[in-house]
Structures are given as structure tokens and as C-alpha cells.
Symmetry: C2
Subunit: 603 residues, 2 copies
């Protein structure tokens, strides 16, 4: 069975060296996030994830969720007890508003814990994850009364939430929604329709489930302009907050799917269910996008999380599994001597190390990018000046699709490579590696496929406010590169990053010159551009981490091996990841012509 | 449910344009492979695969194999009937020796059919696939008596075969084998040990199962030098060929695994089973490698086959699924007009086409490479002169690890992209796309992981006979490029291939200068080098196909759309695949230093 150790020391390093958490203690929420508090949270979170969640990950995948004839759904053995412990410890309350029972800590701290939860048990972590998404929407557009009724119990975790967007005929293109909301005399609505792919739509973990549902009100335009958002509780809520009648919403079936078996993916049937408008009528998409942007960062975390846990197990296996002799030994003598041991651990083989180093270089770089991104979510709300808030908002807006798209594509690749380290055993269920691959796969698909992320990046984010966000990001890169060049120990990495950034700038220029007049050029370039952005973003994080590692070593840090490993991995990133930047630029500059040339019937 | 249409026209095109099948009609076997015969075989094979095998692929995955208390194994519903039909039609006899009931056709024809079988039902196709591997070993090293007893029934398909290499402690490194063979007074051996991952080790399809088992004879060296190969039939065979007593070999369990659920992956327990030495004592590995080289080409076919069937379904979905408007339409007007239709088929979106074109460019290129490779298997045995046989043997030896490694890595990538086209539906079992991904995954792992393929390429094949094979391959590339430059319509593709070939030559030079003295440099470069070889090899196939397409169009071919599509896809390959060559070279030239720097305990 696979194991998991939360990378607390790595998280701490990123919080110190990249996020600079201590620089923000003047801001609300950050004041409480003292080094001691953060250390305690990470340590306790690590224990919970390692000891409670990880042990039921493989069994949860095997058992899956069960829908009963009465439309109720049971989660796998151990999940209810683990969820009760989760609520008891308050793991869902970290970054929530103290007004509703939250601890009011920065998102960056909650994001660090989110990684551990997802590594230990991705399917489990989605129940509280969806709950947080629903809370975000209620917080953003709910009335005071709605907040007062729903948020305290959702924050605590006794109630959970869901997001209901997709319908059979309608995924990315929400204008096609058919679910109807018929206004009633008492101000409520009757919601009727079928929603699919509703994660955590029905289960036995919480007392109530608060569905947030997109629907079109009677007479509204049959397009995205006619969509409103509704709260539809599984159990109606009395004025005193107690549970009332069962609402007319039921789980019609649960999907059989590639992975995340322990999370119930439900078809939800709304049959004249009582719903409450939340936010303004026909402004439902806006609320949904608030929720979705936060969710997209969370999905990026899942890519990292599966890459991390898969890497950890591959590293253990590579140190343990004895097979073949190190090349160096065999090749240096003729005839081949009878070796002292019959075989070496496979970690002696360079090609096995390549797979492990790919994992390290991505995981550690992605953790830095994600926590740095989460800091900017905080700063976008909490920074002292309007200018600082705007810059933070620009940067995280630009990088959200990159974090979601690049980190999930690479997380899947890392999980696949980690499985490969096991040879045939990696294909066998009991070793757990194939589950990491199957679970990681969904993160590339949901919350907007990675193709949609790429279109969001090139079609919306690049051009917003005259390209202000990209300019801020490039300025940051230029500054970091210029600073690093002063230190000859960083020159190679800084030079590689400068070259990759040059490819990014050239690709951006190409997009400006070719994408506006002919949008298919933007579409044809989008995924390559997103990956190019991802490589440069991780390169920048490695530069920052390398700089901090040299500083720590110069200051006589006790744990030299830790910082040496960072410097070696930074070099590996420069040597093995950055070269793709040039190839990606060449690919995207090929444009849309060959792509769009074939008639549809030729496929 | 997914569908499958065998790409008969594409196969024909490759057989004509790339393989030049008609040029070899003077050779044994090829004489019978007249255009009419080949066309009939492809058409009939297509029908069988489409109508018999494809319909039980998804259900076979769902049901899987069942081991009963008496150690017998039942295949999923429909498999026995399909196998009987397979035997009845003689699909396993195409390339087998007429002396044993085969049709004696070229391997290249059988390989074309192997693709169809694997696309339609990979798990099913492995039963006859393993059987052919076992036949190859018996053919290569069996005595006349052994051939006479086993081959006719195995060729017919009434008996099947298996390959037993792996043990719990022993995968790649066969020196670690513990299975023992104790000589008996009657010349037989008692075989005792446990073999794992035995595909088709036990099932209900055939009357007898002929296990080929690696074991060490009493007193033999406890290393690769002490390994012998044995025939261990499930039922002992009487002198008249009838079945005798049940042998002491049983299926201990079947593995639960990521995919190919309908193929029984068995733990086989040998408990003093009667075995017959095949070939010379302690020369067992040699026989196994004969079998394995053929098997590796077959695994490359599986990579292509899963890429092809996944692509086909993605293309159908992309033409059918209506979601979002084409960018061109939305962007050209302000305010956005209410469009005539609410949404377009998603094939209008450039990023969806990117995934489909990646699939086409790989699948069609890989089919050409694989059939061209299969031709060289034939030529290595059948070509008229010793020189021609040697060149063919050199080329297929060099390219076998490339076909296995590159085609399975890319086949998996294409299957994953095809799944992505489906959005959330791709993750749901009933659509069948996630099965293609899970099935494709094993091909990167078995018959020598792709890392082992890469080591075989750089550590063995490159240097054999002073690099003779690579020189022959580079000369072929240079000739094709020089020829193509005379036609300005081919200049861009030829130029791109020339550049990529230059990267390959430089990478080879780097390997010669750095890999011999320090083998870890070769190990660190191996996978990147294999991919670089793969890209160049597919590039060469696209150049040949583009040339043939122009020739067909110049000659007034009726089906212009077919050849136009080839030319567009060739251009796409040049624009979107060839640029990786430079990045791969840069990565491999980074060498082993950063890779090997960390102590094992740092992972």
C-alpha cells in the first residue's frame, strides 16, 4: 500500500523564501499567522492527513460510493469517521471568515493544507473542497440573511455545498442550460431540471447539502444572459436553522468513472425543488465565476498533490527495489566481474533518476508557484493600498489558468512517470500507483478543461486592461533575472530563464500580431502558450528558491543537504524543463492554417 | 459505446507508398501477397474486428476475468465465441509457416491485421499475440519433434502459448530468477517456482496452454548465464498429440490492474511440473530474446492501435458535440449577433482540432513506421542477397526499441488527448475513452519498460558493429531529404526533417563523446535520444507519404481529398512535432551530473 508524508519542511521553505509570509504581518489575518502558529498547523495537518486520510485512500477507491434504492448515497468505509474528525479539528475553517466561525487565516496557509489533504486522499478532500466553493459564492453574492443561515453550518462542516452547472447537453457552454426556475408567490422558485457531474452531490457525511444551481428564470433570455443562481438545500431550513422538509432534489444515479471513486459524482434531478435566488436575477454566471476562480486554483493544487504523493512512493520504491547493476560498475571492467551484490537498488540507474528528478523539479516548483499564487489571492483582498491590491489581483488573474492547466498537465505526467518507476507493479492496483494516475486525470478536465484554461489565458487574461497583468508579470521576471545575474552562482539558471522569458515575449508578440485579426490563431496557439507560461513561472520560482538556498548556506544553515538538494534540483529544472520553451514558441508560431485546413468530414 | 472502423484505406496507402509491397513479389511469401489477396485480407479482417471484437471490448473491461476455486479462469462473456470465430477464420495463421498449417504470408500483412485486432479489443488480441510469441521461440530453438508436436495446434489456435519470465523479485534483471529445473531420469525436468504477470496464463479459450518458462537447472550458475528455457504444457501431450494428464502448474491468482481487464494476468505456480528443455541448456535467454524482439514490435503496434481507436472516437464526438460558437464568428462583430444556431460542433475550435491533428499525425506516421519495420523483419529473413538481409536486420534491430518506446509513449499521449476532447464525459466509463487510456498504459511498461528500450537503443543498438545500423539509417534519411529537395512542394517538410536529423546527429556525436567514458551520461540521455529518434523516424515516413501523395495527385488520382489530407497532416507534423527535436537534444546534452548528484537518501 502506498504511503504519504506531508512535505512540511518544503512548505515551510516556500512560505519563508518565496511567499515571505512574515513580510505581511501588518495585514488582517496574517497577524495571526505567526511562525509558531503556522508551524503547528502544518504539523497537525500533516498528522491528520498521514494517519487518518491516507490509510483510507486505496480502500476508498476499491469500494467506491454506493447509491441505494431510496436515492441515498453511502461513502466508503471509514469516510464518515474521517469526516467527523475533520470537522472536529476544524480543518475546513482555516481561512473562513471569523464572523461565521472561521479562523480568518490567510488563504496561503489553507492552501498549504489543501495540498496535504489532496495528496492523502483526493476523493475525500473534494467533499470539503466543494463545500468551500459553495461558501465562496454565498459570501460573494448572498444576502445577509442567506449568509447568516447557511455559512456558519457550512464553515463548521456540518453542512456541505455543491456546484451545479453541467447538464447533459451543456458543459463549457453554459448558455445551453435548460434547468428552469419558476417564480412562486412567496418569493421562492420551483427548480426543475437535470444536472450531471455533480461532485459530492449526495453522500452521508453531512446533515444537509446546500446545492448552488444555475437555472433560467421564466421568461429570461435562453442564453448566458438569462442565467441565475439558486440555493437549493437538500433539507429545507427552518427560521431557527433547524432542518425542515426534504426538498424535491434527488440523486438519480452515480457515475462509474476512471478515478476518484470515493467521491460521489451524481446525476441530480430537480423536480420542482424549492430554490432561493442568490445574487441578482440573470447575474448568475458572475457569482459562479467567483467561485470557479477559487476552485481552479484548488484544482491546480490537486495536480501538484497527486504528483507529490506519486513521486514520494516512486522514490521509496526506487531505493528499495533491487534490480540490475549500476552501469558504472558493469562498464568499467572487462570481463564483467562477479559483483559483490547481485543487484543494486534501481535508484542507481540514471533513467530512473530522470523520472524522479522530473517529479521533484515539478512538484517543488509548482508548490512555490501555487503558494505564491495563494498569497496573491490574499493580497488582492487584504493588501494595504489599492495599487497593491490591483497588482495582486492582476497577477493571480493572469496565472490562475496557468496554475490550473500547467500544474494538472504536469501533475498527471509526474504521476504517470512515478507509476513507470514501478515497472509492471505500477500497473497493479494493490500498489496504489495506478490510482494516483487515474485520480490525477480528472484535474485536467473539470473546472474548465485545460483547453478552456488556455483560451481564458490568451483570449481574456492577456488582453485585459491593455495587457497590464502580463506587463506586471514580465517586469517581475526581468527584475528577478537582473538581480540574480549579480551572483555568478545563479548566472546559469538566470540565463536560462532569461532565454525562456524571451521566447515567451516573442510568442506574446506573435499572438498580438496574429491572434486578434484571426482568432483561430489564438486558439491554435493557446495550449502551447499556456505551457510556455507555466515553464517560465516555475523557472522564476526556482530562481527565487535557488537564491534563498544560497543565502541560507552562506548564513551557515545547519541542514546543508536540504539546500544543496534545492540547488541541484534548480539546475535540473534549467537543464531539463526550460529547453521546451523554444520548441513551444516554434509550435505556436506555426499558426492555425494546417490545423483548420481539413473539412470536418475528413476527420 | 465507442465504435471502431479499421483504417483499411490508410493501410493500403502505406503498403503501396511506404512499404512498396509490390516490389518484393519475387520473394517467398510475398508472391502470394498479391494486391487482390491483401485487399481481401484487410477487408475481411476489418469486418471481423469491427463486428466481432469491438462490440465486446467495453463489456470485457467491465466484467474482467474470473478465477474459480479450482484455479480455472473464465474470460468475459463473448470471448470464447469470438475466439472460436478467430480460429475458424484462421486469423492466427497469416504469417505462420505453411509446414505447420500457416499461410506463409509476409509479416507486414499480419502486422496490418494485428493493428486492427488491437484497436478493436486489445485485451482479446493478447491471447493470440502471446501465442505467436511462444510459437516464435519454438520455431527458433525447438527440436524437430517439438515443432511437430506443438506448432500445428498452436498455429491453428486450438492451443495457445505464454511467456514466463517475471518473478516477484525479478523483472528486468533476469539473473535473479529463482525458478528451478531438476533433471529427471527420463530426460524431462521438474519445474518449481512462481511466475508473475503471466498474460493469458490461464483461460477458457483453448484446449491446452503451452507455457515457455525460464528456469535455472540444478547446479547452473545463479546468474543470467545459468538460465534455460522449458516447455511446460498445461496438459501433458501424448505421442499421438492427444491430451494427457494435467500438469502441476496452476494459476494461483489473477491480478487486479489498471486496464486490459479482459486478459487474465496470472500468478503461475509451478509445483514440480513436468518440463521439457527447449534449445540448449543455459542458453535460455537467447531464445527468449528472439521471442521478445518480435513481441516488442507487437507492443509498438498496441500503442498505435489505442491511439487510432481513441482518435476515431474523439473525431466522431468532436463532429457531433455542439458546444460554444466558432471563434471566427463571435469575434468579427460587435455587439455579438444572436447567432443562427446556438452552438457549433466543437470541431470548429482550434484547440480541439489540435488534439485531433496530434492524433492523426502520430497515428498515420506510426502506421507507416511500423509497417515499414515489419517489412524489414520479412526482408531480414527473405531478401534475395545476404547484403540486403543484413541491412534489413540492422535497420529493424535499431528501430525496434524506437517503435516500442516512442509509439507506446505517443499512443498513450494520443489516447489521453482523445479522452480530453470529450471533456467530463471522457472520464465516465460508459463512453469508453478512459478504457483506451488505461489499456494503452501497459504498453509503455511490459516487454521491457520504455526506459529499458531507451537503454537498449543507446547502450546496445547504436554501437553494434561499429555503428553500422545507424549509418545505414542516416544514409537513408540523407537520400530521402536530398531527393525531396528537388520538389519545392516538399522543401519545407524536407528542410524541417533535415534540421531534426541534424539534431539527431549532434546528439549521437555527444553520446559517443560522453557516453562511453561515463555510462551514466548514456543512461541520462537515453529516453530523450529515443524520442528524438522517434520524431525523426516519423518525419521520414511523412516525407515519403507526402511525396507519394503529390505523385498520386499529379497522376490525377480520383480521391483528391484523401491525398490533400495527407499533405496537410504532413505539414502539421513538420510544424508541431519536429520542433521538439532541438529541445530533446538540449536536454540530453545536459548530461548526468545534476541527475546523479543527490544521494539516494535525499529522495
Amino acid at each position: 500500500m502506498p504511503t504519504y508524508r506531508a512535505p512540511v519542511k518544503d512548505t515551510q521553505f516556500v512560505l519563508d523564501a518565496v511567499v515571505g509570509l512574515n513580510n505581511f504581518s501588518n495585514l488582517p489575518g496574517f497577524a495571526e499567522a505567526t511562525p509558531d502558529t503556522v508551524a503547528a498547523i502544518l504539523e497537525e495537518g500533516a498528522k491528520f492527513c498521514e494517519n487518518v486520510l491516507a490509510p483510507i485512500n486505496l480502500s476508498g477507491d476499491q469500494e467506491g460510493c454506493t447509491r441505494h434504492d431510496d436515492a441515498s448515497v453511502t461513502t466508503p468505509a471509514g469516510f464518515k469517521a474521517a469526516y467527523d474528525a475533520f470537522v472536529e479539528a476544524g480543518w475546513g475553517t482555516l481561512a473562513a471568515d471569523p464572523a461565521y466561525g472561521g479562523q480568518g487565516l490567510p488563504h496561503v496557509v489553507a492552501t498549504a493544507i489543501a495540498e496535504y489533504l489532496s495528496s492523502a486522499n483526493m476523493a475525500f478532500s473534494m467533499y470539503p473542497g466543494l463545500n468551500e466553493g459553495a461558501q465562496a459564492a454565498i459570501t460573494a453574492v448572498g444576502s445577509d440573511a442567506q449568509k447568516r443561515i447557511y455559512l456558519p453550518r457550512m464553515v463548521e462542516g456540518r453542512w456541505t455545498g455543491t456546484m451545479n452547472l453541467t447538464e447533459p447537453q451543456c458543459g463549457t457552454d453554459l448558455g445551453l442550460i435548460r434547468t428552469r426556475a419558476e417564480p412562486q408567490a412567496d418569493g421562492t422558485y420551483k427548480i426543475t431540471g437535470t444536472k450531471i457531474f455533480i461532485s459530492a452531490g449526495e453522500h452521508d457525511l453531512s446533515d444537509n447539502i446546500i446545492h448552488l444551481v444555475l437555472a433560467k428564470t421564466t421568461g429570461a433570455p435562453d442564453s448566458v444572459k438569462g442565467i441565475s443562481l439558486f440555493i437549493v438545500p437538500k433539507f429545507l431550513v427552518e427560521a431557527d436553522g433547524s432542518l425542515g422538509a426534504r426538498n424535491a432534489v434527488k440523486c438519480g444515479s452515480i457515475e462509474h468513472k476512471m478515478g476518484i471513486h470515493a467521491n460521489a459524482t451524481c446525476v441530480m434531478n430537480y423536480d420542482g425543488a424549492t430554490g432561493y435566488l442568490i445574487g441578482e436575477e440573470m447575474k448568475g454566471l458572475r457569482a459562479m465565476f467567483i467561485m470557479m476562480n477559487a476552485a481552479r486554483l484548488g484544482v491546480g493544487v490537486q495536480g501538484l498533490a497527486q504528483g507529490e504523493v506519486a513521486y514520494q512512493n516512486a522514490a521509496i520504491y526506487a531505493r528499495d527495489r533491487v534490480q540490475g547493476k549500476a552501469l558504472g560498475i558493469v562498464a568499467n571492467a572487462e570481463p564483467i566481474p562477479e559483483p559483490a551484490s547481485k543487484a543494486d537498488p534501481i535508484i542507481v540507474h540514471a533513467d530512473v533518476r530522470r523520472m524522479l528528478m522530473d517529479g521533484r523539479a515539478f512538484n517543488e516548483g509548482a508548490r512555490a508557484l501555487i503558494l505564491w499564487g495563494a498569497l496573491h489571492v490574499d493580497l488582492a483582498h487584504q493588501a494595504a493600498t489599492a495599487d497593491e491590491r490591483q497588482v495582486a489581483d492582476d497577477l493571480i488573474g493572469l496565472l490562475t489558468p496557468v496554475i490550473k492547466g500547467y500544474c494538472t498537465d504536469q501533475g498527471y505526467a509526474v504521476a504517470t512517470s512515478a507509476q513507470q518507476v514501478y515497472g509492471g507493479h505500477g500497473y497493479i492496483t494493490e500498489w496504489g500507483m495506478e490510482q494516483f494516475v487515474r485520480d490525477a486525470r480528472i484535474a485536467q478536465i473539470y473546472e474548465g478543461t485545460n483547453g478552456i484554461q488556455a483560451m481564458d489565458l490568451v483570449g481574456r487574461k492577456l488582453g485585459m486592461n491593455g495587457g497590464r497583468a502580463l506587463r506586471a508579470w514580465l517586469a517581475l521576471l526581468a527584475q528577478d533575472i537582473a538581480d540574480a545575474k549579480g551572483d555568478e552562482r545563479l548566472a546559469a539558471l538566470a540565463g536560462g530563464l532569461e532565454k525562456a522569458t524571451g521566447e515567451l515575449q516573442a510568442a506574446t508578440m506573435w499572438l498580438m500580431q496574429n491572434g486578434l485579426a484571426k482568432p483561430d490563431n489564438a486558439g491554435a496557439a493557446a495550449t502551447a502558450y499556456l505551457h510556455l507560461m507555466g515553464i517560465v513561472a516555475l523557472g522564476r520560482m526556482w530562481l527565487v528558491m535557488a537564491k534563498a538556498s544560497h543565502a541560507a548556506l552562506d548564513a551557515g544553515a545547519g541542514d546543508r543537504a536540504f539546500y544543496d538538494a534545492k540547488l541541484i534540483t534548480a539546475r535540473y529544472f534549467a537543464e531539463r524543463f526550460l529547453p521546451d520553451a523554444g520548441a513551444l514558441r516554434r509550435k505556436l508560431e506555426a499558426g492555425a492554417e494546417a490545423l483548420m485546413a481539413l473539412p470536418a468530414e475528413a476527420f
